[in-house]
């Protein structure tokens, strides 16, 4: 048995002894390696992070405490503190039970030995490839910030109904920011590659793209106020879907009346061509896991199917409130690069891999079809949009004019706005066949018509 599972079982045993009616322990071991670089390597980092949380219930009162130590004294403290908190908490009349049975789905390609066993030299070689590729495009381009990271995350969960499970997953990521031009006229660009697998890192591709775009952005300008048809690159579109949907399609948001989707199941909320599904077991998916943070199997959950709102994402608690099955969307971390280890939070529903169904054109064909408009590559501040009113607003930090179906001048600094509910209802019908991710969302390159530009 692994150390984290044994720690989780010890915690459950102690919690029952303490007097809890039900108890659960969730334990984590995260090992991570990072290389931080610019034009040269600046630092390397390796870390081991362990921890465990205890969630205990007594008389429908819930207590929760987490601690980074897996030693007996740390576990005892977590049990004592969670008991103290539970006694002070008010009764939750909606509390039913922790899961009485855990379950596992089959997932593929979420664990890669090549990530786990990558040596310091392997990481250094990959970073050198990134740096050399950028400078092969143009020696005048500077890498202003970059990192390469590999992580191995192990989790164990156990509860007082005799359930226990373990899982292990890997992740590799490469990030690169580059600049070209002079102090007075700069072009910058950012690229990112994330994969479960070592060979999924698109190092060369990413490095070439970032350098080429930085050079083009040197000449970026504003465009005038008005309306424009836009094409969003796949990961930029995934970014706006992340900002506008991921926090409102959860059962939690709906049950608490902070979702615009309350009471709209079965209604048409998007045009017929739009299908958005949470694919909990997507092969190689960044959010794919055999079981969620409640210990329940991850599944496939249609959210919008052919324009009709079909369902929401549930964890054990929100599902038991409605006497239905969980969709396996319990998350303790919200976001892959969440700044806190995942054992520190109680579960809440959140997408696993929210996938916007792609179309069948190539991205080039979508741009060509658009004729005249704006190609959006990078935005900032899209996360500041209002997912409840649907008011979407994003500031363009890197994009290009589309003229007669071709990408021409570089553009930046304008604000693009639209109502996201209107976009769903008929402004995003043309989608490409490519998919990339931002946060938990996978989306294709997508045409979004008729956006407002605030510029000159």
């Amino acid at each position: 048995m692994t150390e984290i599972l044994s720690a989780a079982e010890t915690a459950v045993r102690l919690a029952v002894k303490k007097g809890f009616d039900e108890a659960e322990a969730f334990a984590t071991e995260l090992t991570r390696r990072d290389i931080i670089y610019r034009n040269t390597i600046e630092a390397t980092k390796s870390s081991t992070n362990t921890g465990l949380s205890v969630r205990g219930i007594v008389d429908k009162r819930i207590g929760f405490f987490s601690i980074s130590s897996l030693e007996q004294s740390g576990i005892e403290r977590a049990v004592d503190e969670s008991f103290r908190i539970a006694r002070a908490s008010s009764e939750d009349p909606e509390w039913k039970s922790l899961p009485r049975k855990y379950g596992k789905a089959i997932v593929r390609k979420t664990m890669d030995k090549n990530v786990e066993q990558a040596t310091g030299k392997d990481l250094v070689d990959e970073v050198r490839l990134a740096i050399d590729t950028v400078h092969d495009v143009a020696s005048s381009v500077d890498i202003t910030r970059g990192f390469l990271l590999t992580s191995v995350l192990s989790n164990a969960i156990a509860n007082s109904h005799g359930c226990k499970l373990e899982r292990k997953e890997t992740l590799a990521a490469l990030s690169l920011a580059a600049k070209a031009g002079t102090a007075d006229r700069k072009g910058v660009s950012n690229e990112f590659s994330l994969s479960r697998l070592w060979k999924g890192l698109k190092t060369k591709q990413v490095a070439r793209a970032v350098a080429q775009r930085a050079l083009k952005m040197v000449h970026a300008t504003h465009i005038p106020n008005g309306k424009v048809n836009t094409v969003w690159r796949n990961n930029a579109f995934a970014g706006i879907v992340d900002a506008m949907l991921t926090r409102t399609i959860t059962a939690d948001a709906v049950q608490k009346n902070r979702s615009p989707w309350v009471g709209k199941i079965g209604q048409s909320v998007a045009s017929q061509g739009v299908t958005i599904v949470d694919e909990g077991t997507l092969e190689c998916g960044n959010g794919s896991r055999p079981f969620d943070d409640d210990g329940l199997p991850q599944t496939r959950t249609p959210v919008i199917e052919k324009g009709i709102l079909r369902g929401f994402l549930y964890d054990n608690y929100t599902a038991s409130k409605e006497n239905r099955l969980s969709t396996g969307n319990a998350h303790r971390d919200v976001g892959i690069f969440s700044s806190q280890p995942n054992y520190m939070k109680t579960p809440t529903p959140y997408p696993n891999n929210l996938l916007v169904k792609p179309g069948d054109a190539t991205p080039e064909e979508v741009i060509k079809e658009t004729g005249n408009g704006l190609y959006v590559v990078e935005t900032i501040g899209e996360w500041l949009s209002n997912s409840i009113s649907g008011e979407l607003s994003a500031t363009l930090s890197s994009g290009f004019l589309i003229e007669k179906g071709e990408l021409t001048k570089a553009v930046k600094g304008v604000i693009l706005s639209a109502n996201f509910f209107d976009i769903l209802k008929g402004k995003m019908d043309l989608r490409a066949n490519d998919l990339d991710s931002a946060g938990p969302v996978y989306a294709p390159t997508t045409q979004v018509n008729d956006m407002t530009v605030a510029g000159e």
Partner: protein, 466 residues
């Protein structure tokens, strides 16, 4: 704890590190959430760990762990040195600016340690405020939070520095959602202070929470502003956010050294209108207290802009060497695990002498942008483009405040906008948040910001043309 840190530093030196430091952290956090009149969650945690940082072969090697025993710490020290040496051939030589190694202990005074307050007392207080915000027919959701952070850090270096800091922060936040005429709006707002539970006891959170709900009810029926470029007045909360995002990040020495920042090469030149003076200060009242940074360097008041001229950058020891300047105590790490990087502490603008009315009078058609209910902002440091989400705001017409407008994004170019500041108010406020923080390179840091009311000659307002 100090002996474990010294042990780790000594091991790293034995293995050939030119320099080594070790940081211990004991972090206690509590977050209590109430929603629609009932307790939603009560989460509390304690994490401890040690991180070691070594300079070997001219490059940084870092290792960290939550396992605090000697055998493990020895392995960490050797891993850090080994990795630093692996990269030797491909790294630039990092050099640390000289500082005097200090021995100090600073504890931000607290009257009531939040950990000593029984959980039921906190829950009761929170539930009361949460219910007080369920006011008015339009309000659909009320979420309230109490947050406490107790951050103890110990720093030991091979040069002989030994610094211990102890900072407690407490705060309350309210998020209200209102719906009317088929439309919904959310308004978030919070107040925090580096203080103990006395800060929670001494304030009227019921009224605070109810006011956020009233604002949400009002803004949900307000019109959108027309998109375009306008003059605007920003309040202390928003000027703080603006300076943080637009100027503060660009003044971070690492971004200047890599030439990514728009302020690169502009030291001593005019970058803002003459009425603009901006500081970064680790000890300003209302802000987040940073007496020392995570390199054991004291953080005092750094002048970034004086009367429109760029006077200084925010620096760590290595970026100070790179730029040929003195360290300013701005090397900060989210926790023991992370590499200290250049971060702001509390960035603010010095007040001027105009009243709010005088600021409004100078605008023929524009907006009064409010920070209350703002969601924050972001900047593209290299390109100089910034963007913010203001809270519910107001139209200004012919020198008078008019009706409320919906929360809007506004944007501009850092250097252009700083030059258009044409009036500075005489009021002043700086604030921080126990709930959020500033993200950079995957690390979150607690910061504060503020200033007076300020008039911007020209910003892009992203409303919607219908």
């Amino acid at each position: 704890m100090d002996h474990l840190l010294k042990f780790t530093v000594d091991r790293a030196r034995d293995l050939g590190a030119q320099y080594a430091d070790a940081r211990f952290q004991d972090l206690r956090q509590t977050l209590i959430v109430a929603e629609n009149g009932s307790l939603r969650s009560y989460e509390s945690d304690r994490s401890t760990g040690i991180g070691v940082r070594v300079l070997a072969g001219g490059s940084w090697g870092l290792a960290s762990s939550t396992i605090l025993e000697k055998g493990h710490l020895r392995k960490m020290a050797s891993e850090a040195v080994r990795m630093a040496k692996v990269t030797k051939k491909f790294s630039t030589t990092i050099q640390l600016a000289q500082v005097k190694p200090l021995e100090a202990t600073v504890e931000i005074p607290v009257r009531t340690n939040p950990d000593d307050v029984p959980p039921d007392v906190k829950v009761k207080r929170l539930l009361e405020a949460n219910k007080a915000a369920l006011t008015g027919a339009n309000v659909k959701n009320s979420s309230s939070r109490l947050g406490f952070l107790h951050d103890v850090r110990v720093f030991v270096s091979s040069e002989g520095a030994e610094v211990r800091t102890d900072v407690t922060t407490s705060g309350f936040s309210q998020l209200s959602v209102a719906a009317a005429n088929g439309s919904m709006e959310r308004v978030p707002e919070q107040r925090s202070l580096c203080a103990g539970y006395e800060f929670i006891e001494g304030s009227d959170w019921n009224t605070f929470a109810a006011e956020v709900s009233q604002l949400a009810s009002k803004v949900v029926v307000a019109p959108m502003p027309p998109p375009g470029t306008y003059p605007a007045i920003v309040d202390p909360e928003l000027i703080g956010l603006f300076l943080h995002e637009a100027l503060g990040h660009a003044s971070e020495g690492d971004l200047v050294a890599t030439k990514e920042s728009v302020l690169e090469g502009r030291l001593g030149s005019s970058i803002a209108s003459e009425i603009v003076t901006v500081y970064d200060d680790g000890g300003i009242t209302g802000g987040y207290m940073v007496p020392f940074d995570d390199e054991g360097v004291p953080k005092s008041k750094t002048t970034v802009v004086e009367k429109g001229t760029l006077q200084g950058f925010l620096l760590s020891r290595d970026t100070a060497t790179e730029l040929g300047l003195e360290p300013t105590g701005n090397a900060r790490a989210q926790n023991f695990e992370n590499k200290p990087i250049v971060r702001m502490t509390n960035v603010y603008m010095q007040p001027g002498d105009l009243s709010f009315e005088e600021l409004v009078k100078g605008i023929d058609y524009g907006f009064y942008l409010r920070g209350r209910g703002s969601l924050g902002g972001q900047v593209d440091v290299g390109g100089g483009t910034f963007t913010f989400r203001a809270g519910p705001s107001y139209l200004i017409e012919k020198g008078e405040l008019k009706h409320m407008v919906r929360a809007v994004n506004f944007a501009g170019n850092v250097l252009e906008t700083l030059k258009t500041i044409d009036a500075v108010g005489k009021d002043f406020a700086v604030s921080t948040s126990v709930f959020g923080g500033c993200g950079k390179d995957g690390q979150l840091a607690k910061v504060g910001d503020g200033g007076p009311h300020v008039r911007l000659g020209k910003v892009i307002i992203g409303g919607r043309a219908d």
